[in-house]
């Protein structure tokens, strides 16, 4: 039973508090769910929330809130909304904000702040969150005057979701949230310094059309920008129209069907041999919504050195940042692809090129050990693929399990892949699975995680228990920090400094302590039986998969090497 409450916050009354204005504005922005954690400075906001029908998900740590919001935003395309209190509440968000900034996820974050009168006095739970988050947000605001609140919230959502998406933080002092005003919801957005380009320059499009026509070895590199722009269909149409092979970046997986004959796989440090050699040898590289991250390009001195580079990106600052670009196109990916499909252009003769690439894939496919005695981690991914019919939303942290998921879960559709790419955040995967599941309650959501990363945010098992969401937690437990161990083996003469973690909690008992059905599997047969059961019902499950601890991710480009210098391309 709820205590006697004041009238509902959503009704616009003549006089409302700043906190009520906030909640009302969130309704106007069609926010369905908030991820947050209360505290002193946000008490007025939580009081207004108490009177509102907006769903609030209480995490167990603010980092859990923000990663869940990221998962929600990643799969739904809608902004994830986070509330945290001042000081430690706000600073606990910092990793997630940076992660969202690096991976261009739309978030709107509200932090409480100490009262205006004591800002700058090192008051209890005061932190300079404006200063702290300036370099890790697309923009941030501190609300000084409660009359500005409706406009600032409108602007925050606008900035977070348009152009290149990103996190926007709004810092609200406690007295501002308490102050009573007659809000002006009609105040319009006024952002003269923010006018993101949406449509491409047609001359540049024609130039690219000509380059396509005369190319002999063209290749498309598709990144997360294709997903943000919802341009999957157009990408397939364009690549098919001109028979141009497609490579995905890590974050772009799913933007092109993983089983398409023109698909070459993921490029980069642990990408396929075929994809990386195509990037190395191509004479026309069309990058769409990708930012030439160092994990993708390897040593820049060897990256696409024979190629004319065309770069389509909504963020002009990404063009020419790492790779010299001959055909720059500032545009939304979908708009650019639509225009490319509209213009008249001849198709290149790519038979020889594609034949060569096919030979490469036949000669150098992804490989893994064949073993009857060991339970190989790659097999876990393949089995998850099998038992989810390749249609699950997969979330991961960073490291070996992430790379195996990227390599072996052939994503057929868009927005099924939630991973921390740019920042590489351990502990991201499990809470982001909760957010993704909230966005798509009917989907199967699998948190593929490692034993290291899972232990960074496993307190969210309690959130999972409370919400009773059907998230399947699959721990690829090799009792090591796998990628660290792999690099120590390769580059530090097997000195496994702090990377072996044989002493672990009993994950089954741990899961059960949170009321979650939990299993331990040590071989494929057990795994099959448990997966069969686990993916057949709508309850949360935790599965501790005890996999071999000695497996390495191959193929690989060693740091400082070029794309053509892959190691481990053959058993």
């Amino acid at each position: 039973m709820r205590a006697k409450a004041k009238p509902e916050a959503e009704a616009v009354t003549a006089e409302m508090t700043g906190a009520d204005v906030l909640i009302h504005s969130l309704k106007k922005e069609n926010v369905e769910v908030l991820f947050g954690y209360p505290g002193g400075a946000v008490l007025p906001i939580y009081d207004a929330l108490y009177r509102s029908p907006i769903k609030h998900v209480l995490s167990k740590h603010e980092q859990g809130s923000i990663h869940a919001a990221e998962g929600y935003a990643r799969v739904s395309g809608k902004p994830g909304v986070v509330i945290a209190t001042s000081g430690p509440g706000a600073t606990n968000l910092v990793t997630g904000i940076t992660d969202a900034m690096m991976d261009s996820l739309p978030l709107v974050i509200f932090t409480g702040q100490v009262a205006s009168t004591v800002i700058g006095t090192d008051a209890f739970q005061e932190a300079d969150i404006m200063g702290i988050t300036a370099p890790i947000t697309k923009h941030n605001y501190q609300v000084r005057d409660v009359q500005d609140l409706p406009r600032i919230i409108k602007e925050a959502f606008h900035i977070a979701t348009t152009g290149r998406p990103g996190p926007v933080l709004v810092d609200i002092p406690k007295d501002v949230a308490n102050k009573t005003i007659s809000p002006d919801y009609d105040s319009t957005i006024h952002l003269p310094g923010y006018q993101p380009t949406f449509s491409p320059n047609i001359l540049q499009i024609k130039k690219l059309g000509d380059a396509v026509g005369s190319a002999k070895k063209p290749v498309i590199l598709a990144g997360a920008g294709v997903l943000h722009a919802n341009a999957g269909k157009e990408l397939v149409a364009f690549s098919e129209k001109h028979s141009i092979p497609v490579i995905n970046t890590l974050l772009g997986l799913g933007s092109y069907p993983g089983n398409h004959p023109l698909f070459l796989g993921m490029g980069g440090m642990h990408g396929t041999y075929t994809a990386n050699m195509a990037l190395y040898e191509c004479d026309l590289l069309i990058s769409i919504g990708a930012r030439f991250d160092d994990r993708l390009t390897g040593n820049l001195d060897h990256f696409a050195i024979h190629a004319t580079v065309a770069h389509i990106d909504v963020d002009p600052a990404e063009i020419g940042k790492n790779v010299p670009t001959q055909i720059p196109i500032v545009s939304d990916a979908r708009e650019a692809l639509k225009k490319l499909l509209e213009i008249e252009s001849s198709s290149p003769e790519t038979d020889d090129w594609r034949q060569k690439l096919t030979q490469n894939s036949e000669n150098f496919p992804l490989w893994k050990k064949v073993s009857t005695s060991e339970f190989l981690p790659q097999r876990v991914v393949e089995l998850v693929h099998e038992y989810t019919k390749g249609d699950a939303i997969i979330t991961t942290d960073v490291g070996q399990h992430q790379m195996w998921a990227a390599q072996y879960y052939a994503f057929a559709d868009a927005n099924r892949w939630v991973t921390s790419g740019g920042l590489g955040t351990m502990g991201f995967g499990f809470p982001s699975a909760i957010g993704a599941q909230l966005a798509f309650p009917e989907q199967t959501v699998v948190s593929l995680t490692g034993d290291g990363g899972f232990q960074m945010t496993l307190q969210e098992l309690s959130t999972l228990q409370e919400l009773n969401l059907p998230v399947k937690v699959v721990i690829m437990n090799n009792q090591t920090l796998g990628m660290v161990r792999q690099w120590q083996e390769a580059f530090y003469e097997e000195r496994y400094s702090q990377s072996l973690i044989p002493v672990q909690p009993d994950f089954v008992k741990l899961g059960e302590a949170y009321g979650i059905q939990s299993y331990k599997v040590t071989n494929e047969e057990e795994a099959k039986a448990v997966f069969e059961e686990a993916f057949s019902h709508r309850d949360p499950v935790l599965i501790d998969c005890r996999v071999s601890g000695k497996e390495n991710v191959y193929p690989m480009i060693a740091p400082g090497k070029g794309l053509h210098q892959m190691i481990g391309v053959k058993p």
């Binding site: 404006m130 200063g131 300036a134 370099p135 600052a317 196109i329």
Partner: protein, 173 residues
């Protein structure tokens, strides 16, 4: 190479922090920075002098500055016909005997003495950086007790000579 970049910004709290922060993050070496109001209310102008290795680096800086929500316009004015001014205050050790000697030195620079004490005089000089370097070289032998410089502020001249290869940076390709 040295580049002079101006940025028109909305006069919002935190904007200076964001801009200097991004320069630190991306390892740009700021030689000087000045900020002040413009003819438009609520709009300020910043002038930076930055040292960069190549054109790609300065292009990246301008693009990153343009991305800031509160930044309205960014221009690299180095290659334009511009008016550049910097002010320096120089406290020079001097007694009564050499005071007039110093007066004679600074006169061609149209500098002026704005403070006098028993052991020193303070010279105010305005001009571009070369001019200030030149007067400093001349005064140094007398002993400079203290010196402050404002850093340069600049904008394009009213009429530009027709230059064909002006560097253009635009967000529209």
């Amino acid at each position: 190479m040295k580049r002079i970049v101006t940025a028109t910004v909305i006069n919002q709290s935190g904007v200076l922090n964001r801009i200097t922060g991004l320069m630190t993050k991306r390892q740009f070496n700021i030689e000087s920075i000045t900020v002040g109001h413009t003819e438009k209310e609520g709009v300020s102008k910043m002038t930076f002098v930055v040292n960069v290795d190549d054109n790609a680096k300065i292009e990246q800086l301008i693009k990153q500055l343009n991305k800031q929500i509160d930044v309205l316009k960014v221009t690299d004015i180095t290659d334009q016909a511009i008016v550049v001014r910097e002010l320096a205050l120089i406290k020079v050790i001097s007694n009564a005997q050499i005071r007039s000697e110093i007066s004679g030195i600074i006169e061609p620079f149209r500098a002026s003495i704005i403070d006098v004490s028993r052991e020193s005089i303070t010279v105010q000089v305005t001009g571009n950086s070369d001019k200030i370097e030149a007067i400093l070289d001349l005064l140094r032998p007398y002993g400079i007790k203290e010196m402050v410089r404002t850093g340069i502020t600049a904008f394009p001249r009213g009429s530009q000579k027709s230059v064909t290869d002006l560097k253009q940076y635009s967000i529209l390709n």
